[in-house]
Amino acid sequence: MEDLWCVALGVFQLWLFVVVFFITLPAMFGLSLGVTGLYIQILVKILEWATLRIQRGRQEQPSVPVPLPNGIIERAGGSMAEEMGRPGCGRFAPSDALYFCKKGLESIADDQVTQRFSSEELASWNLLTRTNQNFCYISLRLTVIWVLGVLVRYCVLFPLRITLAAIGLSWLVIGTTVVGLLPESSVKNWLSELVHLTCYRICARGLSATIRYHNRENKPQKGGICVANHTTPIDVVILANDGCYAMVGQIHGGLMGVLQRSMVRSCPHVWFERSEMKDRHAVTSRLRAHVAAETKLPILIFPEGTCINNTSVMMFKKGSFEIGGTIYPVAIKYDPRFGDAFWNSGKYHMVSYLLRTMTSWAIVVNVWYLPPMTLQDGEDAAQFANRVKSAIARRGGLLDLAWDGGLKRGKVKDSFKEQQQKMYSSFILGQNGINNQ
């Protein structure tokens, strides 16, 4: 019995030694031993082989369904007038109903909005059980690789990542509390930045994250507002690996609350009580005050308001664009082959989401810093928001949608239906027919 304990203790000590010296310390200084890079390269080779194998298997078994990442149907894009197929000019024809009928059935077969709130469908299976929607047994070799993958992910990577995450988060709490005890000075700010950066770097290692930053000359400056598309709470870790931001959000209870309260001791984040969040005016004025103090860290805001599945960018709420100050847009794109980063908050709780992320292959993400934008003359906040959204969508290779991310939980506004009705009315009355009532 004694020997067993000694052996177990020895293994544990060795484990900690490896983790601390080979992962945590280099991470803190932003260095890399290149292990993750090698791992990603091997993974890419395996996935490419798997793709070819599945394609071959599909040719042999024609009943295997083909994934259609572009949708189930092909739509003819056209305006209402074009698709009616007849000149309007003051006439109604019973065939007009066919137009709405077809549009309706098309949206039932495949619509642009509801698919954004669930995980993206992959073009080819990436050897994770959870993405095994439309794939079936192809070959023995593939199955063996998949089993190996499961073992590696759950027995080797997962404990490693949990350890790192635990170290990272406890370091954050302890470090920020200690720094918070110091008096206000530039030394305190520098130390606080150091603590935050190192902690986020450790957490990023805890997810096997490979982050590529582009255009770092456009990095958000102090006194600015950083806006980005939102896919997952991990977005915060991804962005904070490269700079310090003042977070904005609602104060939670539990573990999140502990983190939030300790973080705010060392540098000014903007946390709101739940009651304050409803008062838009109070929120805007607090953020405005933060931005006006030009020495404070740039605020990080996600104007979509909710997590979208990283295939598109949905409507940006104009509140963030009314604060004033310079906007620094950032586009974040995850590589779906290595793991599904999207948090489907309706389906998974935070804890199960983190467990799933920690048992994926890796998180590979591209971050583009876009040039700063400001409100132009003759533009209102909503138009400015749309302009920023289009720029982010273009840069990140995402679809630019005008739909509201709030449709995840809520109903669509009646004004959109009224818009359709108005368009149809002016169609059948002729262009200036509306005035002849």
Partner: protein, 195 residues
């Protein structure tokens, strides 16, 4: 490592749906994925609320009528067979449509059946006639508040006048077919499903 979508849909069912609707095997499994993603209650059927959750359908002026078309008389739930049967009306008409069983009724996506689907959008009470009131109802749904009652009434009267041939002041199905004989119904009521 089975395919999650198809394990709930047996091969025999897929074959039956294939025969009835003419969709291909892969189209049926894809549409089954779509059906399950819309089925938030996960009970194998869709209710009207499930359809209403599609934003593009909720803003469609005829959205409610279209949703009604899926539900058989008096029922509140539609299963996958019913879902496919209704969608089948919108399959494109193929020239070399293999009709193995010529004694059976025409395929669901024939021109006549497409027109019948459109006719039923107007004919709410299913009495095989579109009355002036029913036409007014549909017109009102399509134009909203933008046209006055009088103007809408005259539009409805003119439409019935032009279509009505037997003088009963209603549009029967045959009169409806006649009105639409020059319209390219195949193109207007077909959806291009990808294989």
């Amino acid at each position: 490592m089975g395919s999650r979508a198809s394990t709930l849909l047996r091969e025999e069912e897929i074959e039956e749906i294939k025969k009835e609707t003419g969709f291909s095997h892969s189209q049926i499994t894809r549409l089954y994925s779509r059906f399950t993603s819309l089925d938030k209650g996960e009970n194998g059927t869709l209710s009207r609320e499930d359809f209403q959750r599609i934003p593009e359908l909720a803003i469609n002026p005829l959205g409610d009528r279209i949703i009604n078309a899926f539900f058989p008389e008096g029922e509140d739930q539609v299963n996958f067979r019913g879902f496919m049967r209704t969608l089948a009306h919108f399959r494109p008409i193929e020239d070399n449509e293999k009709n193995k069983d010529h004694t059976a009724s025409e395929p669901l996506n024939s021109r006549t059946n497409k027109l019948l689907f459109a006719f039923r959008l107007y004919d709410l009470d299913r009495d095989d006639k579109i009355s002036r009131d029913e036409l007014l109802q549909v017109l009102r749904m399509m134009v909203g508040v933008n046209i006055s009652d009088e103007q809408l009434g005259s539009i409805a009267d003119r439409t019935i006048q032009e279509a009505d041939t037997n003088g009963d002041n209603c549009i029967s199905f045959n009169e409806f077919i006649k009105v639409l004989e020059k319209v390219d119904v195949e193109q207007k009521m077909s959806i291009r499903f990808l294989h």
